[in-house]
Amino acid sequence: MNEKVSLQDLAAMVADDCKISRKKADQFIRDMFDVILEALKKEKYAKIKGLGTFKLTEVSPRVSVNVSTGERFEIQGHRKITFTPENKLKELINKPFAHFDPVILNEGVQFDDVPDDIEKDIEVELEEPITPVEEVLPLVGSVPEPSKEESIPEPEQPFTEEPVVPETAIEEEPETPEPVVEEVLVNEPIEAETKEEPVVEEPVEKSKITETKEESMLELNPEPSVKEDPVSIPPEPVTLMQKKKKTPWGWIIGILCALLIIGLIVWLLVPKKVKEEPYEIYVPEKTTVSPAPTDTVKQEMSAEVNPSQPEPVKVETTAPQTVETPKPVIPASPQSTTSSLKTNVVKETIADTLEYRITGLKATYTLKEGETLARVAANFYQNRRLWPYIAKYNKDILPNVNRVVPGMVIRVPELAPVE
């Protein structure tokens, strides 16, 4: 190791190998390198098979500074010999280290094992690029990276959850049987209402929603093998595919996979969140109430104060129906719609385009697990949108209509249309 092998040593080896005299071998090696040198001088280029390429390259003149005196002087342009080993030779020489592969480093990796001089180099290297790296990170973070793939779904979760709900709500629209019934009765407000409708229904039709969500997820991400084991399977293809990425396809697939995972997480969390969801969703509903047309509100007020209700009447409770139908049609044809309704529909379906007043107790009902006031309204009035009346009637025991507890006994009011 680390010995110097001279031309003579080499000649001895060659002589042994080819069974020629040492002298001849010596001479041959000299000739060999002479020829290379000559060729270099002549053609500036010599390619030797099994060794590599020798080249003569021009070095352009440059100005340097004498370190001790600070004097400037010019280094003259000259030529020098460069040697590039053949790939085969490179591999042969590097055999002891051939099993190493470059490793992608994550953030926060320490360099304890890296020698000092190199670490200095690293610091110099990092000083400039480190700020760009952090600037770029948020961008990179939004797109799933192979190494951080597990940490990414979590930060994304909060803001994707919200969009997911409206998505499914919109998709649910065509499936809800309710609007169809009402479409016969009320043609105008349907469009405005259906947007809010599914939201109200969500807790009730929990099972339906989960189904539709699954479907929608499948539609969004055209990938197989989701249904069998939705939780454990997806992560694997992600890692495999993302390791292979380099093409935009890899990214696209990675993003799709991430969406799929997020969707699954949301889907798994939905049962727990169901009880809270209405709370979040009703808030905007109440806010939309305030800018409602004042004339209908006034009508309501007068209508509801009259029927001797001891409680302070709030506009909110009846608002969801009346506000959404802000046209003066309501007072005009309440009778005709109800009459047609009662004649046409055998079940006592109560339209929600009218205003009602509470005339008395119709029944008491014990809430079951997963039930909402909307479902109770659907049971008793065949119209889930009339739940606010129940809420109003039970105001004393139900301070927060969005938090109904299973087992709670609620009173269902008898409703009569306001003339």
Binding site: M1, N2, K4, V5, S6, L7, L10, M13, V14, D17, C18, I20, F28, I29, D31, M32, F33, D34, V35, I36, L37, A39, L40, K41, A46, K47, I48, K49, G50, L51, G52, F54, L56, R79, K80, I81, T82, F83, L89, K90, L92, I93, P96, F97, F100, P102, V103, I104, L105, F111, V114, I118, D121, I122, E125, L126, P129, P132, V133, V136
Partner: protein, 90 residues
């Protein structure tokens, strides 16, 4: 100058057959590479020296993606022309 020209010229100069020349060159290079693989340096007086150097592991940053890569250590062949050749070439 490619390998063919090189062998042709060498065979002319050394007075060997082209076949024998190529075999000899192979032998020379083979023993050279052998020595280099053992970690020895090969010094050809009047031409230069070949030696194996170990490049330590380092961290490189992809300037585009800012991805950091740990490049493993490796062995490379280096060639240093002798001072006489340097002067000649200059």
């Amino acid at each position: 100058m490619n390998n063919k020209d090189f062998l042709l010229k060498l065979s002319q100069r050394s007075g060997n057959e082209l076949d024998a020349t190529s075999r000899l060159v192979e032998s020379v290079l083979h023993s050279m590479v052998d020595q280099l693989q053992d970690g020895n340096s090969v010094v050809i007086s009047g031409f230069g020296s070949f030696e194996v150097k170990k490049k330590m592991e380092r961290i490189s940053v992809n300037p585009v993606s800012h991805q950091r890569l740990l490049i493993p250590p490796k062995l490379v062949v280096g060639f240093k022309p002798s001072s006489s050749v340097k002067e000649e070439v200059k």
